[in-house]
């Protein structure tokens, strides 16, 4: 019987194929590859590699009911590499097939796509924090490009809208990393500088230069190429204020025990040979600086360096290059730091503070750099540097970067150590033991968290430490708050697209909506035949 059916099917299939005349779309036979999520201000975005589409998810509440809307937008051919804009209002996507950069503008209602023609198979995108430029470059690790010029940078200038094509520049160095300095002004003229970090060399790309000679400027980090190669590991920028006449960047590398300061200032004279003057200084910043930050204090600019050999930090007065090193009340070298502003509980004044921590020390340190005068005596412990003892070693500090941070949450690694709420005004911890949250998002004085190994969500008050837990259908992997803050979206594992949407204030299971096959929405409408 089966032989007869197969013969019949074969005969009719031949006729049908002749009638429709196309090969079946191979996208249906490959594993479903959904890349994401990328979090934007108004939406959560996935890239469907099989059908070359962007999935834009927006959660909201309609008549008290939580809902998840899906909007799909075609990409170019063979979409490959995707990042979000710094403002979180756009997606930049390189399409390898038709060699374009797609810019998707995504707001709360509309997704619009504009394409920029490329000339090279770029596979790296550098995002401008101010959204004026996009820099494209080659990693040298592309598997399918025949040739890649590793010194090439593609510049997409968005200041007058999306251009039709990319501007190409070949640098004198192979950039390991590209960074954009914040915008600043010299004599009222806006300046935009990109920095290419290369072995033993830094190249400045003047994105707004009018003369070719001013476009690229290379600064060596060693006297000779024969010297030991110095690979830049961290760069921080000091954009000048309105009155200042120079901009600086501070560079750490993997060989030197000094911080390299590269200063730019406008060239003087009516017709200078170069637009900018560049000078290089070496700043002593402790024995072995391995993390640096720039602090703009009332008393002037300070460079703060965490030491990589001992639990110490060094403050450097950028203007005078004077420095002073202080101990951190920690049992291990500080590996990470966060800068925030907090109000002094006694004087009510807002001041800059730095929290330094290590993944190997339950003691963390809060530094009050405003109270430290560089070059004078060691600060009194407990005033300029305070310690906080946690119940477990920290992994990640989460604080609200948009406002003056008064509370932060410290996550701990694996197991059942729970998490810690830090009062950044009084430097007091509140420990909540239990399962470890895998992600926490802050919303004013309320925070939401999910756990990697239990199907629950936690909501807690950052002021009091009061908390409430709610069951979820599955353990969460990511949690997002909708822009109107009326709904919470939780992503679960699952190739078919598993999500739970909850309306704010209604967290009971019967009020939630659980999506198990979100990525199969409208699936049969995809192309069946090769085009």
């Amino acid at each position: 019987m089966r032989v007869v059916i197969n013969a019949l099917i074969g005969a009719v299939a031949l006729i049908a194929l002749a009638a429709c005349g196309g090969d079946l779309n191979p996208a249906w036979d490959q594993p479903r590859e959904m890349e994401g999520p990328i979090i934007l201000e108004e939406a959560v975005v996935y890239l469907d590699h099989n059908f070359e589409e962007l999935f834009v998810l927006r959660s909201h509440v309609e008549d008290g009911e939580p809902r998840l809307e899906v909007e799909r937008q075609a990409t170019g051919e063979r979409p490959d590499y995707m990042v979000a804009s710094a403002a979180g209002d756009a997606i930049y996507l390189i399409n390898r097939g038709d060699e374009t950069l797609s810019i998707f503008s995504i707001d709360d209602e509309v997704v619009e796509r504009e394409d920029v023609a490329l000339t090279s198979p770029y596979d790296r995108i550098t995002v401008d924090p101010e959204g004026e430029f996009i820099l494209l470059s080659n990693s040298g690790r592309s598997e399918d490009a025949v040739l890649q010029n590793l010194n090439e940078v593609g510049i997409v200038d968005l200041r007058d809208g999306v251009p039709e094509s990319v501007r190409v520049l070949t640098l004198p160095v192979r950039a390991q990393n590209l960074e954009l300095m914040p915008s600043f002004e010299f004599d009222g003229e806006p300046q935009r500088i990109a920095v290419a970090l290369a072995p033993s060399e830094v190249a400045f790309v003047d994105l707004v230069a009018e003369r070719d000679i001013d476009r690229v400027r290379s600064v060596p980090l060693t006297i000779s190429q024969a010297d030991t190669v110095r690979n830049p590991t961290q760069v921080v920028f000091d954009a000048p204020g309105p009155e200042s006449s120079s901009a600086s960047l501070f560079l750490l590398d993997d060989r030197s025990n000094d911080v390299t300061q590269i200063e730019m200032s406008p060239a003087l004279g009516d017709n200078p040979t170069r637009k900018l003057n560049v000078s290089v200084n070496q700043l002593a910043a402790g024995q072995n600086p391995h993390r640096i930050a720039i602090l703009d204090l009332d008393s002037g600019k300070r460079l703060l360096a965490l030491d990589g050999s001992s639990p110490e930090f060094t403050l450097v007065d950028v203007a005078s290059a004077e420095s002073a090193t202080f101990s951190l009340p920690m049992s291990h070298v500080a590996t990470d730091m966060e800068i925030y502003s907090a109000r002094d509980p006694f004087t009510e004044e807002l001041e800059k503070r730095v929290i330094a921590y290590s993944r190997f020390s339950t003691l963390i340190a809060v530094i009050r750099p405003e109270s430290i005068s560089v070059g004078s005596e060691t600060p009194t412990l407990g005033k300029t540097v305070e310690d906080i003892r946690l119940d477990a070693v920290p992994t990640e500090l989460i604080l609200d970067e948009r406002g003056d941070a008064e509370r932060a949450v410290m996550l701990h690694p694996g197991g059942q150590d729970g998490f810690t709420i830090l009062n950044l005004q009084t430097n007091r911890p509140i420990s909540l033991t239990g399962f470890n949250p895998s992600q926490i998002i802050l919303d004013g004085r309320t925070a939401y968290g999910i756990f990697g190994n239990t199907a629950h969500m936690v909501r807690f008050d950052l002021e009091s430490g009061d908390y409430w837990t709610y069951p979820l259908p599955l353990a969460g992997r990511s949690i997002f708050l909708s822009p109107d803050k009326e709904s919470v979206l939780i992503r679960h594992d699952g190739d078919a697209g598993r999500f739970t949407v909850l309306a704010r204030g209604s967290y009971a299971p019967e009020d939630a909506l659980f999506y198990e096959h979100l990525f199969l929405d409208g699936i049969l409408a995809r192309p069946a035949f090769e085009e």
């Binding site: 009719v12 299971p509 049969l524 409408a525």
Partner: protein, 237 residues
């Protein structure tokens, strides 16, 4: 979808006229039973996407009553029941797709007897159809069903064995036959716009309090070329 409905209604009208014109023709009455294997082949995107192929197979039965002949032209009204379906795997096994269609149709064969054993014939039929689509992904089944109308226009050959002058013994009244038909199956579009969890309770319970969202899987229109091979048994009285 409107075009398909128009075609099916046209078929129905043609059947009615044909039946009426031959209704008065009477000769030896004959009961007819048939079972067959059938295939349908479609280039509809929804069908191909779900099946992973352009065609699928099924089985069917038909019961008929031959009204008689006028100048070797015979009319045989039929009641037909067909089941077709597929069980496909998409995305390298990430998604299982199961589709089924049941058709209950009334129709008629119109044939012209050559010799005593060979009959070129045409078959027209139309009726009701019921389709179901099940997606299984991540261990979860979601299903939706759709009602619609089906039709068939086909032509082919029927051959009979043991067809001798009717005697009094029952054996001489029986004859075996085989037929092959090629034609086109019409089907209204099925929109699977409420794919619903199969395993979850209809109302939330203490054990499973979660409300699952339904989704729209889009459409399948399983119209296309049809081919069938049937064996039949006829009894004259």
């Amino acid at each position: 979808m409107k075009t398909t409905k128009r075609i099916i209604i046209g078929l129905l009208a043609a059947l009615t006229v044909l039946s009426a014109s031959l209704a008065t023709a009477t000769a030896a009455n004959e009961l007819y039973g048939e079972s067959r294997l059938s295939t349908v082949s479609s280039s509809n995107e929804g069908f191909v996407n779900a099946a992973g192929d352009t065609s699928t197979g099924g089985v069917g039965i038909a019961l008929g009553y031959e009204l008689g002949m006028v100048d070797q032209i015979a009319l045989r009204p039929l009641l037909m029941y067909d089941v077709q379906g597929f069980d496909g795997w998409r995305f390298d096994g990430d998604l299982r797709t199961r589709w089924g269609r049941q058709q209950l149709m009334v129709g008629a064969d119109v044939g012209y007897d050559i010799f005593t054993w060979l009959r070129p014939m045409a078959r027209l039929a139309m009726g009701d159809s019921h389709q179901s689509l099940t997606f299984t992904a991540g261990g979860q089944d979601y299903r939706d069903t759709a009602h619609g109308m089906s039709g068939l226009v086909a032509g082919g050959l029927e051959a009979s064995i043991g067809r001798s002058p009717m005697g009094t013994d029952p054996i001489s009244r029986l004859s075996l036959g085989a037929n092959m038909l090629f034609g086109y199956t019409f089907q209204t579009e099925a929109h699977f716009d409420e794919m619903t969890s199969v395993d979850a309770p209809e109302e939330p319970t203490d054990e499973d309090p979660w409300r699952r969202a339904t989704y729209d899987a889009d459409t399948i229109q399983a119209s296309g070329f049809a081919f069938s091979f049937g064996v039949s048994l006829r009894y004259r009285f």
